[in-house]
Subunit: 331 residues, 2 copies
């Protein structure tokens, strides 16, 4: 099943079911007005949405309309939790190597995770509005899951069944704000502006055999200014599966329905697969040549993030954003 | 005006208006079903709630019932954003001094702030359920504000008008998980379990002249196992006002309606005012005697947090919690 949230001027938009081929959709208003409402009561709501989905796919939905990705908000336009892991430890190791910092051995068995802002997600085609290019604007192409209620102390084994939906994420990062911010010891804050999500969230069964061991075994494609710069396989070199990330999150607290958990920047050790964020390319350049050559994003730059199935069809629709200048730079 | 969220078995509870003396209340269901709904449309909703408030205070509300703090959820049982500052830099300096770490001079003009989990707040009288005493269970008595929509790049001057409500917070912390977690560089995560909030959220005018310069100039009283251990004045030694914290939050992104921003542990340089978290007492002991003597909280311990006005009346009602053992300890 594929679900989207349609822009209607409200804060939470309208929940819609989208056909597998992303061509048609039908509002779910008679079943659940919003994505959060569906997640709050998933076991009761999901089968009803699935019925519409099957009607759409067989061309029998009687209120179908043409699906336009440009009319989408993030599937959850605002969420009660957004926690982002860093499961591709290769990425972390590269960043460390580039700045001559050793990576603790514990990073291979204890997940990194940070709490992100979740009150103001941007839609898949919304501009990335920021105050200054000097902040070091970077995209980060990731995969994320949405859970139902997960109790404190959940094991990785039990966590798998709590994954209800998957999406793509652009976890925009402000690289030049990160060093000073992390030095303060409290983690990311200003360096993580609003994240964006794919037009469509899908149930795990939509990934068929590509969903295995709590990982998505397909390439994640990132195109920067129209040029494909990365296509690492999200199932390769993911050291912590989504169930493991969920177990990490719930060690000391519950996670409530609508919790979004990100994979971290998708990254393969095989450098020929390219990169899912500019910082990684700059690290490779620094390691090879002693200095980074690729600049961060400028106003006007575009980023396109998409995942295709084995037949070349888009699974989640595309994140397609342009960086724009916002309110004047502040010190 | 004073507002509360009444337990009704639902995730968001029912919005109620509470009389100034905290003795009676009336459901606001005809105006806004939930606190978030009120905040989403505050300018339209607040005057209608204010009318009920005046009726309650004059004994003329026709659907009033006895207000019972024990029936309260957190004013926002789940929120789209919880960002906690550390505005009492004295507290930060003590922690640093105790572990022989110098505090960067920048901490006096650049606020510390971390993004907290906001999907599962506990109510003022709910138990603090945790897996292990070995985690180093501590309370943190704080003040928090709730904002409406704040645009990116908001100045401290403009931020003041975005503060709609104030509450008390118990920002429970797991001290023994903090060192390893901060060493990983991504900030707090497992070391910050669910926070609790006061029964009632109040509009700034309820504080009269105690609300000045974006700070609350009244003592915050913390009683641990029935013994008053702290009563620092929240208006003293608060280096960053709430408007300054909001400006920090919105440097690179918008903050949407219902954003909660915490002050950090209230702390006065005058040590005779006691402490708002055990860690601070332990730091003082370490500085004086080379070792901490006061243990962290044990299962069965209670914590009571309250603020009284100049006439000794409770403003927000009381946070009154007991620490309980939850699901078995996990490594």
């Amino acid at each position: 099943m594929k679900l989207a949230t349609i822009k209607d001027g409200s804060r939470d938009g309208q929940l819609a079911v989208v056909s597998r081929d992303l061509k048609t959709a039908q509002l779910a208003d008679a079943i659940a007005p919003t994505m959060q409402a569906a997640l709050d009561d998933w076991n009761f709501i999901a089968p009803q949405l699935q019925e519409i989905y099957e009607q759409l796919n067989s061309g029998k939905a009687y209120r179908a309309f043409d699906f336009d990705q440009k009319n989408c908000m993030a599937p959850l336009p605002r969420a009660f939790q957004w926690a982002d892991g860093s499961a591709y430890v290769n990425h972390v190791e590269l960043v460390r190597t580039a700045r001559n910092a050793e990576m603790p051995e514990s990073f291979w068995h204890d997940p990194l995770m940070y709490q992100g802002g979740s009150d103001d997600f941007t839609g898949p085609n919304d501009d990335i509005v920021l105050g200054s290019e000097e902040w070091g604007i970077d995209f980060e192409s990731e995969i994320a899951v949405i859970t139902d209620d997960v109790p404190m102390g959940c094991t990785p084994f039990d966590a798998a069944s709590h994954i209800k939906l998957l999406m793509l994420v652009n976890d925009v990062s402000l690289r030049n704000l990160i060093p000073a911010e992390l030095a303060k010891g409290f983690g990311f804050f200003q360096s993580k502006p609003a994240s964006s999500f794919s037009p469509v969230a899908v149930t795990p069964d939509e990934l068929a055999t590509a969903w295995m061991d709590g990982k998505v075994h397909l390439p994640l494609r990132s195109s920067w200014n129209g040029k494909l710069v990365g296509q690492p396989n999200a199932g390769v070199d993911m050291v912590f599966s989504f169930p493991q990330l969920i177990a990490h999150l719930t060690k000391t607290r519950n996670a409530r329905a609508g919790t979004i958990i990100g994979s971290g920047t998708v990254s393969n050790k095989d450098a020929s697969k390219g990169y899912s964020c500019i910082a990684e390319q700059r690290c490779l350049e620094t390691i090879a040549n002693g200095a980074a050559a690729t600049p961060f994003m400028q106003f006007g730059d575009t980023i396109h993030i998409e995942m295709l199935d084995v037949r070349g069809k888009s699974i989640f629709g595309a994140i397609d954003q342009t960086v724009k200048q916002g309110p004047g730079k502040k010190a």
